[in-house]
Symmetry: C3
Subunit: 469 residues, 3 copies
């Protein structure tokens, strides 16, 4: 067994002087509360406050970062405890955990390793490294802790010093869990975000059924374009009452369009019909981004665009195991021509905030920094998904800052359903931002006092301000 | 008030040994004269030698880097002293300066900050940092200095140790200012460059009017293809007599074509007609790049291609305030297939020099370095515009050098209309090149003596040679 | 004359602590045997074991890295000893060598310089640097050594500690040299690889003639689709008997397709006819990648895909001097949609190994790492060609590791015909991998013992395993 040690200087540059600057900056932001303005935790956890079950179902099975890496090396998802659609899991949770432990070396050099080691050491107090020989020790220790009251969701939320966290729901969600949290008297701030892809994307599974439910929930006829817009306004207002400060849009591309009312009505009629062409589907999504921007100007919700993921690239895996198993692959994503229609209409609105994300790092210096460095309505979201990693964060700051500055960025998003890793993720971001600032100071490109102010802005203030939290 | 200090080691790597090497290299090139082979200073300054007016109109209003960043954070251009088309400025210059000063923190981590701090400290001798509290001190001090004889354009030119500077004019310019400079007896070398976009791009504002003026100035009938080519030859010869050693071409793409004479004549007839299709416009621009290369072989002018900017991306801003306000956005730009027609015709001409620029850094290692590392006619221009920055320069050397070497690059271009920042821009380039060379020496990839030779080549010799200055 | 020194710490980071870690890691892998699983050495060298002729014909004329850089600076290929098609060389080898020596400064900062300095110092024991003044000393010394028995191919192979090397042959090769090596009793492991481009790419020179020869060699009728597939199976089996463990596919793009048998037969009839459309040629190449994957599942050969090179970009040069003179230029290359048909069919086969290469570094973090980090059948090849360089390797690890991990990569390929440089190339890779690992250790992202294990995996074990050697 080997000791599990989280070195206090981890992720800081090796150069002694730069490291010393980074260490000082980090010390000043390490304990700031966590603002988590975008993510995928389950509000039911905080509504029911039931204990988590076991290590495998909490830490392994829902984590698509882990599943994809293990799968890529020939390990069957079944053996990791992932259920086939419509079937019970055939794997023993302990056996799945052992398999994971025996392959933990696969994560060397990846952010999963950083996050998990933090969870093991800091959240669970484990003192030896995960490997085949410690698999059972881990499994038993973690399971035992999870039964303690101080490992229930609300206790962890408080221990993690979370000031506010946003979950993500579709307009078809009743937000019953959020209501339950509010009714419970617990003061943890868990809010929702409006993610209307299921009723905006004509290619979404069950689109027409979704519109029927959208009509029911909103009391508007979502099968006419005017009623459809009214339904959005209705549900946005409901979400805002339940704390939402933002919307989110997960389209395949960043394409926008700005149709006349007549054209929009005609298009709506086509995409709600039996057969929808891919071009019409794309045009409708594009047009609705502009409509959503207009509604954001009206109701103040911050708009997030997360484009460029080729979802479910592996058809057999999708059919067998379903979504979110690590088979979503980034695509080349353009923003300049794509966003032009929306920006021509609303780009100069200083009261509107659109936060752009990308899975295509080539857009950082070429497109996103110049766009956000000009349009008042635009801000740049933090490095996303595959790029939410030390090197990804370094590239983000190096490629964005000189054109967009720091103040057109919006702090960190953890964007995760892996609740226990949230502090670790924010910690990595704080360390990497401090490391970047330290280099600027060491190279005499920034004064110490400026770096200290920026460290707090990047760790806390910018997220709070951009997301109106 | 906080002290304004330009640290002598700024931009050098933090590692002590590497920094020491960088410092020695930099010391050997710091005082070399400035070769500024491509830029946008106003020849009228040097022709009239009139004093500059005030801080706001000299340093803020014409600088699109500053305007776009301030605008991106919701500051109105009107309040910065930018005039709406056809209207006088409504802003008080001092109020505009104060607004800029109060927002100077937005430029942290950007090259504008580096350039301006140099201008404040070195050109104007200011000793405190720009912020809200020092805005008036700055405004008054700068304005007072600008009335002194040693702050007139020619005095600054000499103080800046500029050996040669090129401005950029269209063929429709009479070059009266350049003539006046020559006639004045002043020995500063201010030359022009031939930028024919207004008479080559059928989509340029007033294209047909431009051709009429082109005919007048050249004495050739620019409405027939043969006369049009003769007009180019005539104006190129005139520009060369006025010192030009280069042409410049700012096309949306790097597309080239090599049409037969008959096809070229037919295309010319179409693009000079009433309605020009986008495809014809693109084809004509593409063909004319090849024609320009042919004329460069004849007259020896070095050819520069600056493709890939989506001009005036913000239609409201363009209509209200006009061009060059920070709303030009880079686009993805390909070179391999695009340049093939021109290169098939003239790429093997060792007597021809075509300098390629890009706003798309993805082309560095994939396209530009391999192309320039093969074709005798090609050289690679320095990092341009958004990439004229410390990190941009670092990426340029790291991604270009291993395939193109140093000797297919051409030193530095400041490419600016911000005259006072020219020494600062060259200084940043010299520091960053020395930092890169120092790393190669510290990692034992280059000998000291080679690095010293290269430092001088990158700072001075290569620009002089490539641009025939 | 200046001393030629290979510094023992070359390519290691300057930071003292990181360098010390790198040095220790490197010491542990420096002397591991060389696995060279993909390259272009000439099997005739090892079959005949004849001495190499002279410095110019061994080191300069066949090296397209050198030719292109010298040519890019206006040096005629004729003067470097390159023969025009159908003509004898007009250059004196000594004069060509002198020209090369006088221009050796052009390679500063390039990997060619690193490789050649190793060849000069370590292989030939030269102690002064190559420059105009030492050209004759070099030429004479090298030529003299080449006549010694210990500089014959097999002696060098043994001195270089090569455990296995793969050459690359087309199905039209009889593998007579490989047979001769086997028959000779020499124990050096020189194996072939199956590169069927000449019989798969309908746009390959002499495609139909190639099919005729393919029929002859395989005893199958390669002009019917079923016979054509049988011919592949026959030749693949023959190659495997001659030691091949892999195939290689050098297509212009990574496009794949998965046609029905009827469609495939119809397409085959079209592409073996008189006039082949570019679209049909592309579709046939695309389909055959999927067929090759199927055959790899049957016979166990590892599949390599090397897409994205625009071959013979310079038509005059190609007509005059032929292929492989440095005029191949990388193109933008997509993998996500392109590989989808093949992966939908065979991507979940853990028994299949497809190794992907790219000349487009933008695909590293966006496409290749996510794909290989999910599909069991995929692995990522090392940085290729223009990117087989220190900075290229650094970018590869920095952009791949966090998503793909280390274990979806396959160690190093030298991919060269420059036999003498093979140890230098592996040495550069080992040094750069150790430098990368050392940074992870210094930043406390990896433990020492893990780094040591990884260093050996990257230098030796992964190549051996991935290529089944």
């Amino acid at each position: 067994m080997q000791p599990l040690i989280l070195h206090p200087d981890r992720l800081f540059p090796a150069d002694a002087q730069t490291r010393s600057i980074a260490r000082d900056l980090y010390r000043s932001v390490r304990d700031l509360p966590i603002i988590s303005p975008h993510g995928h935790t389950d509000p039911a956890w905080f509504a029911t406050n039931a204990p988590f079950t076991d290590a495998t179902s909490l830490l392994l099975v829902p984590d698509h970062y882990l599943l994809r890496m293990l799968y890529s090396q020939g390990i069957a998802l079944d053996d990791l405890g992932v259920r086939r659609k419509g079937q019970p899991s055939s794997a023993d949770p302990r056996a799945a955990w052992r398999l994971f432990a025996a392959n933990y070396h696969l994560f060397r050099g990846t952010p999963s390793r950083l996050w998990l080691d933090w969870v093991f050491a800091e959240a669970f107090g484990l003192e030896v490294r995960l490997e085949a020989g410690t698999a059972d020790l881990y499994f038993d220790s973690i399971n035992a802790k999870l039964q303690q009251d101080d490992f229930r969701p609300r206790a962890l939320f408080e221990r993690f010093n979370i000031e506010a966290i946003a979950t993500t729901e579709s307009p078809l969600d009743t937000l019953a869990h959020h209501q339950a949290i509010r009714d419970s008297g617990w003061t943890g701030r868990v809010i929702t975000a409006y993610r209307p892809d299921p009723v905006i994307d004509p290619e979404f599974e069950g689109f027409r059924d979704n519109l029927a439910r959208f009509s029911d929930l909103s009391g508007k006829d979502a099968f006419s374009y005017d009623g459809y817009l009214a339904a959005h306004r209705n549900r946005r207002a409901f979400f805002a009452r339940m704390g939402a400060t933002s919307t989110d849009h997960g389209h395949p591309t960043a394409q926008t369009a700005d149709l006349s009312l007549a054209d929009a009505r005609a298009l709506f009629a086509r995409v709600t019909g039996e057969h929808v062409s891919p071009a019409d589907a794309e045009l409708f999504r594009a047009h609705m981004l502009t409509v959503m921007a207009q509604m954001s100007i009206e109701d103040g919700l911050v708009m997030q665009i997360h484009p460029g993921s080729y979802r479910n690239h592996n058809p057999w895996l999708f059919e067998t195991f379903g979504r979110d198993k690590g088979a979503d692959i980034p695509m080349q994503t353009g923003y300049v021509e794509q966003l032009a229609p929306l920006l021509a209409r609303y780009g100069n609105e200083a009261g509107l905030t659109i936060i752009l994300f990308t899975l295509d790092e080539t857009s950082y210096s070429r497109e996103l920094a110049p766009l956000a460095g000009h349009y008042p309505a635009l801000r740049i979201g933090p490095p996303w998904w595959f790029h939410d990693s030390p090197e990804g964060m370094r590239r983000f700051r190096e490629q964005m800052t000189e054109t967009a500055g720091f103040y057109n960025t919006v702090g960190f998003n953890d964007d995760t359903r892996a609740f226990l890793s949230i502090p670790a993720r924010h910690d990595v971001a704080r360390r990497m931002d401090c490391a970047f600032l330290a280099r600027l100071v060491a190279e005499h490109r920034l004064e110490d006092s400026e770096a200290a102010e920026l460290a707090a802005d990047l760790a806390y203030n910018l997220a709070k301000k951009a997301y109106k939290l």
